[in-house]
Amino acid sequence: MTIENWREQLRRGGLDLAILSAVAEAPRYGLDIIRHLEDSTDLVITEGTIYPILARLAKDGVLRAEWVADEGPHPRKYYRLTDRGRRVLDEMLVHWDAFTEKIGRLVRAARGGRK
């Protein structure tokens, strides 16, 4: 296991949660989501690969996509959470909080033991 691979796995694990959280605040389109994640987290998504992820989430009924023609010089596809998506996000957040708390406890104990 290399640290870089581990970091990739870690980021990947949080990616769906990060995307759902990004569109929970307000409907966003692909480039807007990329910018939002880049500005507020360490998650820099390869541009061409966020759209397949969004398509999957929409296919799963977690996001609803809508083309908006009058927002800019060309149509943009906005994504927003569906009711199901909101429930999924709430559930993910519960698991995320429990997970980070447990791992945090373990890491703090490990750090304490090394001192």
Partner: protein, 228 residues
């Protein structure tokens, strides 16, 4: 930045290649919508780039940061076709995902070829079970000069070959066929899972700030207006 005719032709070429690849494994309307979204992304990046002295270099940078058409198509494949295959395990979905990998990657072609042989072998065994009651003299274990040679069906039975095996061949062929099919299908799913993890784990969906460097920055872009 407003694209010149040359620039527009470059974008059309990119979208053409991407569209052909997407249509090979996505339903037509889904592929069309995906293509429209990628086009929207490119136009957004172009409009945010502002006036640039070198349109060609700017456009190439935008397309490079988006990823090659094949890479984008593979990302769709990993998220849509492969994900569906792994989530459902349905034969049709697995076949579609394998077909896409076989037509876009060398490793996928080799693996799919091997898996195809497995599926054919399994189906052949089932065919033996079905044909035995209809052509009992042509289906079974074949012996040549008293030595075992093969198992299956031969029409007609060659001179010097002898067919052995009664109807007990049927359960053996059924068990063998189903076992081979199950093992091959499991192998297909494991290959697809490995491919998806490899695809998304190694610079797939995510890149680090460090590896992206200055070319990946969208800092020149103005803040997009958020729909409300």
């Amino acid at each position: 930045m407003k694209l010149s005719e040359t620039g527009e032709a470059r974008v059309r070429g990119y979208l053409f290649v991407l569209g052909r690849s997407l249509r090979s494994f996505l339903p037509g309307d889904v592929a069309k919508d995906a293509l429209r979204e990628i086009e929207s992304h490119i136009l957004e990046r172009v409009s945010l780039a502002g006036e640039q002295p070198d349109e060609r270099a700017t456009l190439e940078r935008i397309l490079t940061e988006l990823g090659s058409p094949l890479r984008v198509a593979q990302a769709y494949s990993a998220e849509m076709a492969v994900d569906e295959a792994l989530a459902t395990g349905r034969t049709g979905a697995v076949a579609r995902a394998l077909w896409h990998l076989a037509t876009t990657t060398v490793g996928g072609f080799a693996a799919t070829l091997g898996l195809f042989v497995g599926y054919v072998a399994g189906l052949s065994m089932l065919a033996v079970a079905v044909l035995k009651p209809i052509f009992p003299g042509n289906v079974g274990f074949f012996f040549v000069n008293g030595l075992p040679h093969s198992m299956g069906a031969l029409f007609p039975v060659p001179a010097g070959a002898e067919v052995r095996g009664g109807y007990w061949v049927i359960p053996i062929a059924l068990a063998l066929g189903l076992s081979i099919l199950a093992a091959t299908h499991r192998g297909s799913c494991r290959f697809l899972a490995w491919w998806r993890d490899r695809r998304t784990g190694q610079g797939g969906a995510l890149v680090s700030h460090h590896s992206r460097g200055s070319t990946g920055s969208l800092s020149n872009a103005s803040t997009p207006k958020t729909h409300s």
